[in-house]
Amino acid sequence: MAVITVERKPLTFLERTYLPQIAGGLKTTFKHLIAPKKTLEYPEQRPAIPVGYRGVPTLVKDPNGREKCVSCQLCEFVCPPKAIRITPGEIPADQADRAHVEKGPQAFDIDMLRCIYCGLCQEVCPEEAIFLQNQFSMSGYTRAEMVNHKDRLYELGGTLPDAHHKWDKKKTAEEHGNAH
Amino acid sequence: MNLKPETLSKIDEVITHYPTKRSATLPLLHLIQEDVGHLPPDTSEWVAAKLELQPINVLEVITFYPMFRQKPIGRRHIKVCRTLSCALLGGYKTCATFEQEFHTHLGEVSPDGEVTVDFVECLASCGTAPVVMIDDELHEKVDCAKAKQLSDQIKAEAQKR
């Protein structure tokens, strides 16, 4: 690679005194001093949340109100700051509309003091059960308050349209599949 | 197991044909099915005890072969071929005719207890398709009309009894 010597223009005397530049700078800042302000005044004005925004991670339910998470713990595994903690549990066979997937989370905690909003949990979720949604402001008075438990996560997450209909598919398969 | 004495003697005789007792499993099952008409649930254990096997070994054989029946069947067993030649020449219709005639469904005993209709794999007479086997008797070129005729014949025979 050739070395290109850049010819530096020698500074004039005035430039070496800094003074014209300082005057120019003062002029610029003065213009801004009287220019209209560009601040978004937050609590009153709310920012428009762009599509794909990564806010607080939440758990979502399918359109029939069933939890989608099967507690595979991949999000717990992938979470870089180890903010997610899941206790897996079995879905009892007597829950007719859910029994086709045997596993669900018994407890699902996300420590929002640890969460870095990276979105890897959403990306890794094979069931599309965890989403980083629009909420961006979390606060609390104690550390314990900053841990989102399962019911809170579902409350935040709500229900999202589901293109996969996992439970229904499982149920259909069980009813109409190639049984003996 | 309530087997006829001649079946029991045949069984004892058959076992001696094989170098290992295990090999007699299939002949034994055939003999029992001939005798009882099907293989009742305790067959596995009875045969296993007879051949010094575990019951699961016999159960595996029973469930593997479709010719072994685990449920009772009617007095006559109608087997309609469903393989290619027969299917092309109306095997399905033939089968449906039998079902209608005896008010039954595939694999079930008809309400009068007379027949069981089965849709089975190739009966090895593709040139005269569709073919039907009633008990051990082969009937060739059984179209709907002939099926009706065969049914009537069976019904008549049943009436006579």
């Binding site: 099967v70 595979c72 713990q73 190639n178 | 159960l59």
Partner: protein, 564 residues
């Protein structure tokens, strides 16, 4: 499995590498010797070969010879002998080596074959990895990354089979995941000798079933879960508890009996989730009894002891007790302690000029992995010199001495004196210093109680029935309020006026090597994973109670029945 080099070696060529392997080795094992992995599902080195999964297909060929002259036919292009490749792939598990055999495990044909097999295996597979406990150690998952298609061409309905069958009290079956490899059936038949599993129906309807009315409930049923290459058989105890990739594996020794089966303890953040066998072809092959897999529950048991005082305060009280009863102290050591603890126990006995007793436990051996002697380390006590003769099941001697008033204090280490035959009155007559992990009659009666650790919380060694010294490692941190037995014993020895002993295993083994002739050349760190067999001849005359088990034949007829 390959036996150590025998004279009749056969030279084979695997992917261009020449290797000499014993006659009778199959291609999978031969390939393993040259670090070539041949994927397989149904083949298991300890079970018979059935060749029904078809995953281990390889290409093979033999050097060409002229049929008439038997002269080798040379390939002019390479200048080597021409190879006649068989045009169709062969299964590696069912193919034994023969001289000059050539094998290709990486060729377009092999790859095609594997991809085809994978596609068939996955046709009816439910693909529910997110909820499957096998995920992470599933051969199907592993091979799917290498040979899977990535999408399905199967547009028909999948087969539906029972999802949660209880095969037995400890094993749950998900039939949809089963790939019909029959490993579990072969294990039940060949190893456990409890032939209750089988396939019923045929074709794609084939289903693994337990014979109606029977259950898979032998004490080795969980081995079927271990060898199941997919998630069809899962342990009911471990089911849905934790994903395996979170678990830390620690090599531990099973303390259930003197077999000393090698195990792996799987734990996460101080909680043990399961115990599985670790392959040791001299001890337990790849098997483990079900009863050994629940021992971890002792770690978090409700009756764990926890100290209310500092260890120093407890030691001071024990020392005062020792001073008040000079010459009238007995020590009840344990054949369940590690070699190191028994070594310390011997030092304590010497320092206190006390007699050392041990308690024997004898049960019924199952001729496989549970021996008659339910103490894991009787031979360790012999080797360290803690005892000279085999222990009895009841402490009748000690009881007599207590009744006679000759013994005023007893140091009980990991042994419940009440269970060993002492009455409550006898316990009340003596001052007891108790070391143990769990509460019992002795700890209740004891003057000083040192809460100590379970085997999962400490490292050490055990000497099994073969006089094989094996090391066990600390799987989880010590429970709160409990102290390492070695630390307690070292302080007690010091308090009793004995030598200063290091409680850290590295330095301790220098002391042990110096004092115990049988262990003179060993260090803890250098002890091999498979253990080291010690010289048993000095103890040949002792009437050990073990009967025959896997890889062990007693030197003399068992006397279990006589002592039981």
């Amino acid at each position: 499995m390959i036996a150590p080099a025998k004279p009749d070696l056969v030279t084979v060529n695997i992917d261009g590498q020449e290797i000499a392997v014993p006659k009778g080795t199959n291609v999978i094992e031969a390939a393993r010797l040259v670090n070539v992995d041949v994927p397989h599902y149904c083949y298991h080195p300890k079970l018979s070969v059935v060749g029904n999964c078809r995953m281990c297909l390889i290409e093979m060929g033999m050097p060409a010879v002229d049929p008439a002259t038997k002269a080798p036919i040379m390939d002019p292009a390479t200048g080597k002998q021409k190879i006649n490749w068989i045009p169709r792939p062969q299964i590696g598990c069912g193919t034994n080596v023969s001289p000059g055999l050539h094998v290709k495990t990486i060729s377009p044909m092999v790859k095609d074959a594997r991809e085809g097999v994978m596609e068939f295996l996955l046709i009816n597979h439910p693909l529910d990895c997110p909820i499957c406990d096998q995920a992470g150690e599933c051969k199907l998952q592993e091979q799917a990354t290498g040979y899977g298609r990535g999408y399905s061409r199967f547009v028909e309905q999948k087969n539906v089979k029972p999802k949660r069958t209880q095969l037995g009290p400890r094993v749950t079956l998900d039939d949809e995941r089963c790939i019909l490899c029959s490993r579990c059936i072969r294990f039940s038949k060949e190893i456990a000798k409890d032939d209750v599993l089988g396939f019923v129906d045929r074709g794609s309807y084939s289903t693994l079933t337990c014979y109606p009315g029977k259950k898979l409930e032998n004490n080795y049923s969980l081995n079927t879960v271990d060898i199941c290459p997919v998630g069809a058989l899962t342990s009911t105890d471990f089911r849905f508890k934790m994903r395996v990739w979170f678990l830390k594996q620690t090599n531990v020794i099973d303390t259930e009996s003197s077999v000393g089966a090698n195990t792996v303890v799987w734990s996460r953040e101080g909680t043990i989730y399961r115990i599985t066998p670790r392959r040791n072809d001299e001890v337990n092959d790849t098997w483990l009894a079900d009863s050994a897999r629940v021992l971890y529950k002792a770690v978090k048991a409700a009756d764990r002891l926890a100290a209310t005082e500092t260890i120093e305060a407890l030691v001071a009280r024990a020392a005062a007790l020792f001073k008040s009863t000079p010459g009238a102290i007995a020590i009840v050591g344990s054949a369940r302690s590690t070699v190191e603890e028994q070594f310390f126990t011997r030092h304590l006995a010497t320092a206190l000029k006390a007699s050392a007793h041990l308690v024997s436990r004898v049960g019924q051996g199952d001729k496989l992995l549970i021996s008659a002697d339910r103490n894991p380390n009787v031979r360790g006590a012999l080797v360290t010199g803690l005892i000279k003769t085999l222990p009895a099941q009841q402490l009748t001697d000690l009881a007599a001495q207590i009744d006679a008033g000759k013994i005023k204090a007893v140091v009980a280490i990991n042994e419940d004196l009440a269970a060993a035959g002492l009455t409550a009155a006898q316990l009340a007559k003596v001052s007891i210093v108790y070391l143990g992990a769990h509460a019992n009659a002795t700890s209740a009666a004891a003057k000083v109680v040192f809460p100590t650790l379970t085997v999962f919380e400490k490292s050490g060694t055990f000497v099994n029935q073969q006089f094989r010294i094996q090391k066990t490692l600390k799987a989880v941190p010590a429970a709160a309020g409990a102290t390492d037995d070695l630390v307690v014993l070292a302080q007690l020895v010091a308090a009793a006026g004995g030598a200063a002993l290091p409680a850290e295993l590295g330095s301790l083994w220098k002391v042990i090597a110096a004092e115990v002739p049988a262990l003179a050349t060993m260090t803890f760190a250098n002890l091999p994973e498979t253990g080291l067999v010690l010289d048993a001849t000095p103890y040949a005359a002792l009437p050990f109670v073990e009967g025959e088990t896997l890889h062990y034949k007693p030197a003399q007829p068992a006397v279990a029945a006589a002592t039981a």
